[in-house]
């Protein structure tokens, strides 16, 4: 069950923020790890818009998740600068190792595509639980994953 008091506290902070729905969604996701469906009506009320509009915003943006994510979130850059340094092969390796397709989650891991971390002089890049690692490779991925998961 979602703690509705907590939801109201988080959402309430954005009531007076003009155009604040995105900020509010980030805060809800930060608090719960995803956007629970129970929060949609409350946000709709807060910003005086329809539930459908809130849903429309959530579904538009890649960042917003509507279900719980794995304990360790691995994000790999799929854009050109990393492609030029072998991110396609690295991605295949990571998919195999985690047993997940891009965009999929299990209890332990979530695997996501990112289109550029802005660290393109040190490609390929991947991020584990929010920590960015440059010059990632098949050789160092396992070590990075262990390190990242234990943090």
């Amino acid at each position: 069950m979602i703690d509705l008091d907590k939801v109201n506290e988080v959402i309430g902070r954005y009531k007076k923020v003009e155009g604040g729905l995105l900020e509010c969604l980030h805060a809800v996701q930060h608090a719960f790890g995803y956007i629970p469906k129970e929060t949609l009506d409350l946000m709709a009320d807060c910003f005086n818009i329809s539930r459908a509009e809130v849903h429309g915003v959530i579904s538009y943006y890649h960042d917003f998740k509507t279900s719980p994510q794995g304990r360790t979130v691995v994000r790999i850059c799929q854009a050109e600068a990393c492609q030029a340094m072998g991110s396609r092969a690295l991605t295949d390796y990571v998919k195999d190792m985690l047993g997940l397709e891009m965009g999929a989650s299990d209890e332990n891991y979530s695997l996501e595509a990112v289109y550029c971390f802005g660290n393109c002089a040190l490609s390929p890049n991947l991020e584990i639980n929010g920590n960015l690692h440059a010059r990632a490779s098949k050789d160092n991925f396992e070590k990075l994953l262990k390190m990242g998961a234990s943090l």
Partner: protein
């Protein structure tokens, strides 16, 4: 106390700068570790510097395991070591640049407002506070500054339009949604010299009579968020933001808003929708954002580097800035050398340098030591350029004539192992993933494009490119054909036997 500089930008941290700083701190007590921004010599990160009587001596790239050896060699005295590069200011990569917008990046502690002021900071603002809005804009017009986000629209004209539009509220929106692959110059500026962006925005606000500014920052840049928010708090405390800026009676304040992983929100009207808390759907123009922008009010939308170029233009004058560059491309532009390149990083140069000089001169060729096959300039919507075009001067008009774009100055190098058919397919795939869906050519065309190339139907692909180019609502669908067509034209052999 000896000053030791260890950078704290995303790139150096991703290479272990925090661990390096810890290792240095553990081995010496009588030193002062300063976490500066980055000089943009990314291939040397983490680049540790020691302040000596002769200047700052650079060592890099320093790994945590190198630290003990540096101490043994006597690096605190600037002694010799395999990683030593001599004086930072004498490193060719940096010395051969023209640092105007990025003059303070790497030099200062990003959150020290004293450092900022000691290095010319806020001198542009104090000059602007003595001028009328029109006089400020005239100086910006004289400088020849054009939008650094990629569209290269003259900044002075944009500001004039907003100044001439009467309204009870106007806004300055800084587009910090640097989504192009192969670009990080906005990030470096925001992480290494945040007050410069803040100063540029204040001047813009004073010029067009706007009192509120937003920085629309992409969510992939968490460090920028914290640096900017801290810098804004400091600027408020020091009376550079808020009511009565520096006792002038003028007001301006800034708020940072975070995007949510949508590339198309870098398009200015999609960005406005997103800032209003909506789906990032592109708006039809007209009306221009300068007339009807954020929350329906007149709005200046400028890229980070356009705004960060304003302080030096104000402080040294439009004529000074205009002296750099060639033709109608005036001033400097920040190039970013990325992908398969030996010496990747940020190179600020006056317009007019050639692609070859950048890639082979500054960049030192490919990281893999293999031959270069293709170079994509200007992000995912930019052309793939072959080596026979490396003498192309980097200016807006020359690139436009060659069917390419300079965009935000990102340069991605691919070696001979790249398959250009895969890159063309990716261009369409990326468009399909990131399209806002408002116009059909972009929403449907991108998916059909992937299918057509995979099926080997190049004739129909060309027709589709023509259609997307002429009938898409914004640059997302309109420019996706650029990388596709350039790949097909320059590397036809990669598209055979399908």
């Amino acid at each position: 106390m000896i000053n030791v500089y260890v950078p704290k930008d995303t790139a150096s941290i991703s290479m272990g700068a925090n661990e390096v700083a810890d290792a240095i701190a553990a081995l010496a007590e009588d030193i002062n570790i300063i976490r500066n921004g980055t000089w943009g010599m990314t291939y040397l990160e983490p680049l540790v510097e020691v302040e000596t009587a002769n200047g700052r001596i650079a060592y890099g790239p320093v790994r945590p395991e190198d630290v003990a050896g540096l101490f043994e060699a006597g690096f605190l005295r600037g002694a010799d070591h395999d990683l030593r590069h001599g004086l930072t200011s004498e490193i060719e990569y940096l010395k051969n640049q023209e640092r105007l917008t990025f003059a303070r990046c790497g030099l200062i502690d990003p959150l020290s407002i004293d450092d900022y002021i000691k290095n010319d900071g806020f001198s542009g603002l104090s000059k602007a506070l003595k001028l009328s809005g029109q006089e400020i804009i005239d100086d910006v017009t004289t400088s020849g500054l054009r939008g650094r986000g990629g569209a290269a629209f003259p900044t002075g004209i944009k500001w004039n339009t907003v100044l001439a539009t009467k309204a009870d509220q106007k806004y300055i929106c800084c587009n910090a949604d640097e989504g192009d692959s192969g670009t990080f110059s906005d990030r470096i500026l925001m992480e290494s010299d945040p007050f410069c962006l803040i100063e540029g925005m204040i001047i813009a606000g004073i010029a067009v009579e706007a009192t509120k500014g937003y920085i629309y920052l992409r969510s992939e840049y968490p460090l920028c968020k914290s640096v900017l928010n801290n810098a804004i708090i400091i600027a408020r405390q020091e009376k550079y933001l808020g009511d009565d800026i520096c006792g002038s009676g003028k007001s301006f304040d800034i708020e940072v808003r975070i995007g949510a992983g949508s590339y198309v929100c870098g398009e200015e009207t999609a960005m406005l929708e997103s800032l209003e808390g909506k789906r990032g759907m592109v708006r039809a123009k007209p009306p221009l954002p300068a007339h009807v922008g954020l929350f329906g009010k007149p709005t200046v939308i400028n890229n980070v580097l356009s705004l960060a170029s304003i302080p030096i233009i104000m402080s040294k004058g439009g004529e000074f800035y205009k002296d750099f560059g060639i033709g109608r491309s005036r001033g400097t532009i920040a190039f970013q050398l990325t992908g398969n390149i030996k010496c990747g990083g940020l190179v600020e140069k006056a317009f007019g340098i050639t692609l070859g000089e950048l890639i082979n001169g500054f960049g030192g060729g490919t990281y893999s030591d293999k031959a270069i096959k293709a170079v994509q300039v200007g992000g995912p919507l930019g052309a793939y350029i072959a080596e026979d075009n490396f003498n192309l001067p980097l200016d807006y008009e020359a690139f436009s004539e060659a069917g390419a774009v300079l965009g935000h100055g990102g340069i991605v190098v691919f070696d001979e192992t790249a398959n250009m058919k895969d890159q063309a397919i990716f261009a369409f795939e990326f468009c399909a993933i990131e399209s806002c869906g408002k116009c059909t050519p972009c929403r449907i065309g991108s998916t059909r494009g992937v299918e057509l190339i995979k099926a080997g139907n190049l004739e129909l692909t060309k027709e589709l490119c023509e259609l997307m180019d002429t009938s898409s609502l914004c640059a997302m669908g309109g420019m996706t054909p650029i990388p596709v067509k350039s790949a097909m034209k320059n590397w036809p052999q990669d598209f055979k036997d399908v």
